[in-house]
């Protein structure tokens, strides 16, 4: 009964979990997919053992090439988030948090600074950016 409820609950959560891409966005589509799935994973919305939509399903739904979705899934598999099984699909796996490599902090700080500058240039105020960052960090804890 309990496991049935758990499965049902997971399905409801997954049903609301979507990938949203902009075909003409600045980032390549595979990266948009990988980034959003990764965000779901690190925020704990996708639990180990969850089966994700297959490459074919996601490619058909988004109307993009299979290779685009496969590239995104492969990237996440390389990072240790997914296990890809031919003919079965992608499954979320338990992943130990890796130790940050030397220079990672500096690299991410530079990327974040560039992103913040882009947001400021687009007209977002510091208070709005602070709110966005607070929400994003809140989702990680």
């Amino acid at each position: 009964m309990l496991s049935g409820l758990t499965i049902q609950c997971c399905l409801v959560i997954l049903d609301n979990m979507k990938v949203r891409i902009d075909l003409h966005g600045a980032d390549p589509v595979w990266r948009q997919i990988a980034d959003q799935v990764r965000a779901h994973l690190v925020e704990g919305r996708l639990l180990p053992g969850t089966r994700l939509a297959t490459v074919r399903e996601l490619a058909l739904d988004l109307g993009v090439n299979h290779n685009t979705v496969a590239t995104a899934y492969n990237k996440l598999a390389e990072e240790g988030f997914l296990r890809l099984v031919r003919g079965v699909g992608a499954e979320v796996v338990e992943r130990e948090a890796p130790r940050a490599a030397k220079g990672d902090q500096q690299r991410f700080a530079s990327r974040l600074a560039a992103l913040l500058a882009e947001a400021r240039a687009a007209g977002l105020s510091p208070s709005v950016l602070q709110s966005i960052l607070r929400n994003a960090i809140g989702g990680l804890s």
Binding site: L11, M17, V19, R51, L52, G63, N65
Partner: protein, 223 residues
Amino acid sequence: MTDIREASLQHDSSGLPGGVLGQSLPFAMLAACGVWLASIWDQLPLRMPVHWDIHGRPDRIVSRTWYEASFPLLFGAFLCAMLLVLSLLIRRQAPRGAAKQPSLRIVRAAGVLIAAVCCAAVVAMASGGKLFVPAMSVMAAMFVVFAAYAVALFARYRGKDPLRNPSRWRAVFYADRDDPALLVQKRIGIGYTINFGHPAALPLMALLALLPIAGIVAAVLLR
């Protein structure tokens, strides 16, 4: 310019409606009718009506041969096989959406309807026309039930799925070489249409055009 698209991360584990049993029901009905026909073969009239006019009078009577007697069943099996292929195409080649399951259910119901109509035709023939009116009544009732089922199913999903890739439509035709879907939801009306930009679209169209010709040739050769 933006082109925003959205998809669920949920894996779709649902197969064809009814599973293997549900999908084989029309074939089981036709097979059962064939077995019944074989079991009463000696009692069948030597000359059987195979066609009736608008007033219900037989206007084509043929000699009792296995081909003439079982033709409705063979034809029904052919149509049901086509519907099964269509179901598999929708299942594997169409994007997920609110219309997918209703469409698959309608195709399955159409298979059952076709099998029932073919069985009714065999019963009418085997009875020498005596059971023509009851058989026609059953057919008419099944058509009404099928129509009501179709209307009820599609009324629920209507308008739930957004139009796919609006810039790639020319009137009612959809063509996008970059879209991996072979079948996409129609722009107007209910059901699916072919993505003419897909590499398999032309072979599929050619196959659909050739099938009736192949059917006629097979019927002539078997006669």
